[in-house]
Symmetry: C2
Subunit: 294 residues, 2 copies
C-alpha cells in the first residue's frame, strides 16, 4: 500500500492507541480525565504522529515500535494547544470547530489537564515494554528538549511577547523554529532513535528535512489564517491579525510567504535525496503540509 | 559527618546544580528564563532533594549519581507551585514571602515558565552522561507517573474540585496521597532506581516509608496553616480556611490531625527497621518533616 493510502490507517492507529493510553473518563478524578480525553481525542490531523510513522517507513522500522513516540508527540501537541488557548494566552474560544478546553470545562481544569498530558508523554516513552533502554532514553531526551524553554514553550513565550511589537524577520524565523519546528523535528528524530546504528549523514539529512518542513508548516498556518475560512480551518480565520500576531505574511508579505513555503518544501525534499525511492512517505507528508487547506 | 549536619551542604549542592541546569537569565527568551529561575532559586526547603540524597546514603549510593533525580524532583515541585498559585487555581500573591510568579511577571509567563520546568526535569534524568540507561529510564517512568493525573496533578484536581464541598475522610486521604505523597515517593524511589539489584523487600520498605512520610508532610502543612504565622511559613496563614479547602484539621479536628501525623511518623520509622543503623538519614528527615515549623 502507498503511504498516501495508508494515512487514514495510521491516523486510526494513533487514535486507538491514544484512547487506550489516556485514563478512562470514569477513573477518578473524572473531570480531569474527561478534559484530557476531550483535548486529545478530537479529530486532530495527527501530522506529528504521521511524521513518526513515515520516518519509520523510510528507515524500515516496524510500526509497532513507533506507537510510543507517535502517541507521545501528539500528547505534547495537545498539551500545548490547551495552554495556548487559555485566557491569559491567546484567549481562543474555538479549536477544531469545538469549544476550547477552558470553555468546555473551566480554566483550572484546562490548566491541570494539560499539565497531566505532558508527563503522560514521557511515561509512554519510558514504559517497561518499550524495547531497548538506550533508544527509549534518547527519545525522552529529544522530546523533553523539544518541549522546553529552548524548544516549543520558548517559542510560545516569544510569540506572546511579540504581540503588538515589531519584530525582525530573524526573530520571527527563530520563533517558528522553536514554537512549531522543535516538535516536528522531535517526531522525526524520535523515530530515528529507534535505529541504534543509524549513519550520521542519514540522521543529519532527516534533521534538515524536519527543520525545513517544520518552518513551512508554520508559514502555511499563517497563510491559512489569512486566506482560509473559519469553517475549514476550525478556528476563527483572521485571528492572528485580531491578536496583532507576528506572522510571515504580516512581516514579509503574502507573496514572500508563499515563495518561502515553496523554497522550504524544495529544500526538505532535497534533504531526502540520499534515501532514494525509500523517501516517498516523507515526501508525501511534506507535500501534504505545504498544500493543506486546514 | 552526621546527615543532620550535612543538610546545609546538600541544600547548597542542589541549589548549585539547579542554578547550573536552568538556562541563564540572559539567554533568549530572557523573560521566560528569568521567571523559571525566580520560581526555582527561591530558598526552598528542598525537602524532596534531601529525600533523594538521604535515600542514597541509606543505600550507599554516591551523591554524584543523585544530582539528576534531586534536581528533577525539585523542578517538578517548582512547576506545580507556579500553577497552583495562578488566579484560576489558588490565586495566591505570596510564596515563601515573595510575590508569586504571576504577580512578579504576568500570568502568561507564569504558565509558560512552569510548562518549561516540567520537561527540563525529564531532560535532566535522560541526559547522555547519566550512568546506566535502564536506571535512568526507571527514574523517568517513576517521576512521570508521579506528576500525572494519577499522581500530583490528579491530587491537585481533586483539591480544586473539593473547595467548598464536604468530602469524605477517604477522599481527603487519597487526595493527599496524590497531591503530596506521589512526589515524595518519587524522590525516594528514584534514588532506589540507582541500585539495579535492590532487594524487593528493601524497595517495598522504602515505598512504605515514603507513603507514610508523604501523608504526614501534607497533614503537617495543614496544621501549620492553622497554627503557624505568615512570616514563618512564608505565605498567608489561614489561607486554607479562606479558600474553604478540605484539610485534615477541618475534617477530623486538630487533635486527630496531630495524632495522625505522629502515627504516620512512627509507621514510617518502623518501615525502615530492616536497614538498621543505616536508616538514620531517612529517620532524621522524617522527624524534620513532622516537627517542622515552616
Amino acid at each position: 500500500m502507498s503511504f498516501e493510502d495508508a494515512i487514514p490507517d495510521y491516523i486510526a492507529r494513533v487514535d486507538t492507541v491514544l484512547a487506550r493510553t489516556l485514563p478512562a473518563a470514569d477513573v477518578e478524578p473524572t473531570r480531569l480525565h474527561e478534559a484530557m480525553r476531550y483535548a486529545t481525542l478530537n479529530g486532530g490531523k495527527r501530522i506529528r504522529p504521521l511524521l513518526v510513522y513515515a520516518t519509520g517507513e523510510v528507515l524500515g522500522i516496524d510500526a509497532a515500535h513507533l506507537d510510543a513516540p507517535a502517541v507521545a508527540v501528539e500528547l505534547i501537541h495537545a498539551f500545548s494547544l490547551v495552554h495556548d488557548d487559555l485566557p491569559a494566552m491567546d484567549d481562543d474560544d474555538l479549536r477544531r470547530g469545538k469549544p476550547t478546553v477552558h470553555r468546555q470545562f473551566d480554566e483550572a481544569t484546562a490548566i491541570l489537564a494539560a499539565d497531566a498530558l505532558q508527563p503522560l508523554a514521557f511515561e509512554v516513552l519510558a514504559g517497561p515494554e518499550g524495547g531497548d533502554a538506550a533508544g527509549q532514553l534518547t527519545m525522552v531526551h529529544v522530546l523533553s528538549r523539544a518541549c522546553g524553554s529552548l524548544g516549543m514553550t520558548g517559542g510560545q513565550a516569544i510569540d506572546i511577547e511579540s504581540e503588538g511589537q515589531r519584530i525582525s524577520g530573524d526573530t520571527l524565523r527563530r520563533m517558528f523554529e522553536l514554537k512549531t519546528g522543535a516538535l516536528i523535528s522531535a517526531a522525526v528524530l524520535m523515530a530515528a532513535a529507534r535505529v541504534p546504528d543509524l549513519a550520521a549523514d542519514q540522521h543529519a539529512a532527516l534533521e534538515r528535512y524536519a527543520h525545513r518542513i517544520g518552518l513551512a508548516f508554520q508559514i502555511r498556518d499563517d497563510i491559512l489564517d489569512v486566506e482560509g475560512d473559519t469553517e475549514t480551518i476550525g478556528k476563527p480565520a483572521g485571528s492572528d491579525v485580531a491578536h496583532d500576531k507576528a506572522t510571515w505574511p504580516a512581516i514579509f508579505g503574502m507573496d514572500a510567504a508563499k515563495a518561502e513555503c515553496d523554497k522550504l518544501y524544495a529544500e526538505g525534499l532535497d534533504a531526502l535525496s540520499g534515501f532514494g525511492a525509500n523517501a516517498v512517505p516523507l515526501q508525501v507528508l511534506a507535500e501534504l503540509i505545504v498544500r493543506r487547506k486546514m
